[in-house]
């Protein structure tokens, strides 16, 4: 009954692709959207297929999204990774895996990473904590509630493999203290520290930014100018608000960010707010892009893709269209070979230039850091705007704090991910300064002395005791912590990328082997990677916004159009819902409705609204 009616693949359903020469008629008849029922049919072969449409090298997020998109579109996909785990540049690693990774970087076995330094406390080695209790992201990301990736997660049903938690606390570091972001209409109105005029200007700006593109007359003159000037000139906002808008809400790295880019980023936050509740951002439990990569790979596998970890590409010959792998096996490629720069074969000559630096400092500390989280939450973002640190930072430093409740570290600890786009030694200095500032703050805040200070505790109008952040900030300056923070893991590294800060993906990297006119671009003799496509490495961007764009561009390069990019509807599900609803008609049948409801557990309360 299950597969009596096999769902036709996209390629089968779309007559438009029938005439495409690249999709051979032979393949048409053998497209397996539904994987073989092992055991009913013959067992799957123990070798890789003889021919596939696309070979993907690396299982980072972009490659994995691409694998799922291509597989559901009807292409046959072989995806490999030279590591024993999924994720590549997006991986979530245990401590043992991290040790190996750092060694690989420093032995130059791992391209596009430099200068990795790892310190691990003996408390982990001695068995107080186990290596696999940790899930450390190589490129931590947060997911805006209104974003292209989130739509794709739903469409592809990859969200079923994942668990999401909310993140509502965004702090801006200024004058040695953290101010939590005033980000809702209510908070703007009720915040006693904001003068009336500022409130009015801020509301005016928020109203504008939600439809900023349609009001070119307001910002046209500032198209190529920094947004700070625009906010001050046009909306009379003051420095504190300007900084919050640019760095905490917009999550920009630099004060010079151009007006349109910044407006887009500010709106991203505001429109994401209250989609699922009073927070703009979600993240996946157990690790970020590493989890998502695995979800998309599983989805691709369900759609028929073949997976092989511990496998590397040796070379690809664009004339014979044969790819050769590390174990000596070969595969014919009808469409394209797509490679992550980190996993390019030896003798590669076509890897795009990785001109930009992303510097990261990742620490696991023995503090839960719940002081920084919203109620019932396990994560927050802390932004250090330019010039707020002792290092005199020119670029902002962004910190993502993950608590044990997100299941990336043991109870009592938390993970601090610090990121800077500053290049060279300055970047490392900025990161160290930001770490110092975080350390000082958490030692003060988690100290018992604070709670005994009556001036700091306030009773709000609902009778709850709250901490007064202004007074907290003042008392921080005088407070000298008695104990020292214990750092369990400290990892510093530099990652290179072709994506400039603030820009999504530099599409020119996909054109390297493109034909110029009717002439094939000259191939480099002896190169092992002629005719392949390279994927972009993750940028410093804290959100997932670039991943779908990159995967979609590559999809279009391979398939010829992006019409079929996750053009999925699982309409078969609806009938079954009705069916089961009839059968299990008891009071407690909430569980029977749909998978999605089953997965939902407890919907969050929609506390504040933000209609403007």
């Amino acid at each position: 009954m299950i597969n009596a009616e096999r769902r036709r693949s996209m390629a089968e359903r779309r007559p438009s692709t029938l005439n495409r020469s690249s999709f051979s008629a032979e393949r048409k008849s053998s497209i397996a959207v539904v994987p073989h029922l092992a055991g009913i049919e013959d067992p799957l072969p123990e070798t890789t297929p003889d021919t596939v449409d696309v070979v993907l090298v690396g299982t980072g997020l972009v490659e994995s999204i691409l694998a799922a998109a291509l597989s559901w579109q009807g292409s046959s996909v072989l995806q490999i990774d030279s590591n024993s785990y999924y994720g590549d540049t997006s991986a979530t690693l245990t401590i043992d895996q991290l040790k190996q990774w750092v060694q690989d970087v420093n032995k130059s076995n791992l391209k596009c990473y430099e200068n990795a330094k790892l310190h691990i406390s003996s408390n982990i080695g001695r068995g107080l904590y186990k290596s696999r209790e940790f899930g450390i992201d190589l490129s931590p990301k947060i997911l805006f509630a209104k974003s292209d990736l989130l739509s794709i997660l739903l469409k592809s049903r990859v969200h079923q493999y994942l668990e999401f938690q909310s993140l509502s606390n965004f702090h801006t570091y200024e004058n040695d203290s953290f101010e939590r972001l005033t980000n809702t209409k209510q908070e703007i109105f009720t915040n006693p520290s904001l003068p009336l005029m500022t409130k009015r200007n801020l509301m005016k700006f928020i109203k504008f930014v939600l439809n900023w593109e349609t009001q070119a007359e307001v910002w046209e003159m500032y198209r190529d100018k920094p947004v700070a000037a625009f906010l001050v000139d046009k909306f009379k906002l003051e420095k504190a608000q300007v900084y919050e808008l640019i760095f905490s809400i917009g999550l920009c790295y630099n004060i010079d960010v151009k007006t349109p880019e910044a407006l887009q980023r500010i709106r991203r936050y505001l429109t994401s707010f209250d989609v699922y509740g009073p927070f703009p951002v979600l993240y996946s439990k157990y690790g970020g892009p590493g989890e998502l990569s695995q979800g998309f790979c599983r989805s691709a596998a369900v759609a028929g893709a073949t997976y092989k970890l511990n496998e590397s590409l040796v070379s690809y010959d664009p004339d014979t269209k044969i790819a050769i792998f590390g174990d000596g096996s070969k595969v014919g490629v009808t469409e394209k070979v797509v490679i992550a720069p980190t996993q390019c074969p030896e003798n590669s000559r076509n890897v795009p230039k990785q001109k930009y630096e992303v510097q990261r400092l990742t620490c696991v500390v023995d503090k839960p850091c719940s002081e920084w989280f919203g109620e019932g939450e396990y994560s927050s973002v802390v932004v250090f705007p330019p010039n707020s640190l002792k290092s005199g930072n020119r670029q902002a430093v962004q910190a993502l704090i993950m608590g044990a409740g997100s299941d990336v570290c043991p109870t009592g600890t938390s993970v601090w991910y610090l990121t800077s786009t500053e290049s060279g030694p300055r970047g490392e200095m900025d990161l160290d300064a930001a770490l110092g500032a975080l350390e000082e703050s958490i030692m003060r805040e988690s100290s018992a002395d604070i709670e005994n200070d009556e001036g700091i505790m306030e009773v709000d109008n609902s009778g709850h005791m709250t901490l007064n952040s202004v007074k907290l900030g003042q008392s921080f300056k005088e407070y000298i912590p008695r104990e020292k923070l214990q750092i369990l893991v400290k990892l510093y590294f530099k990652q290179l990328t072709s994506t400039p800060p603030f820009e999504v993906v530099d599409s020119s990297i996909f054109d390297i082997n493109e034909p110029v006119g009717s002439e094939l671009k000259k191939l480099i003799p002896g190169a092992s990677d002629n005719g392949v496509l390279y994927t972009p490495l993750p940028s410093a961007e804290i959100s997932y916004d670039e991943a779908i764009t990159a995967a979609r561009m590559l999809f279009q390069k391979i398939v010829g159009s992006d019409d079929d990019f996750f053009d999925l509807d699982f309409d078969d599900e609806d009938e079954q819902i009705d069916e089961s609803a009839v059968v299990d008609d008891d009071e407690d049948d909430k569980m029977n409705m749909t998978l999605d409801v089953e997965m939902s557990v407890e919907p969050v309360d929609f506390a504040g609204e933000m209609e403007i």
Binding site: V33, H159, R268, K285, D586
Partner: protein, 208 residues
Amino acid sequence: MSSRKKNILKVIILGDSGVGKTSLMHRYVSDKFSQQYKATIGADFLTKEVTMDGDKVATMQVWDTAGQERFQSLGVAFYRGADCCVLVYDVTNAKSFENIKSWRDEFLVHANVSSPDSFPFVILGNKLDVEESKKVVSNRAAQDMAKSLGNIPLFLTSAKGSINVDTAFEEIARNALQQSQADADAFEDDFNDAINIQLDGEPSSCNC
């Protein structure tokens, strides 16, 4: 690792390619309980209401390997939060029988279960319907193996002939339920805090 979601039992089926993992889960879910199954397309996971003594107690999700086991390429996320692990071999394939132990070890390495010694496994020897001459794994050898791995329950099944499949999955469900309750007790203060991102009017367009 804490239990995944309240009232959802995650069961994963492991074993060599071609032993009949997918067909076993389809036989179980679609045959006897055909009115209740909710299949995803492809071999993803199937869900079924679990009843004990006539009362519905939980929803069981049976996860297929989706073919990723072929080159030992199952990711850690697949194993996460499992409440019971089913190990399948083919009675006509000695290699698949020998690999049962490796699959169990593989599971324990990746799943990060709180107490590996008491975690429930169930072994299924599938393809019982084939003629005697083709069977290469003796019942005795299977029993010895099950015993040596810590008295794991063993069932000889046929997905094709519908032999013993329901009995085996009843045992699997019972074990999964026990494990899930034990986990829930151990993590009492663990919140069920996952957010449902599937809204009625799902976010349709992207503004980024």
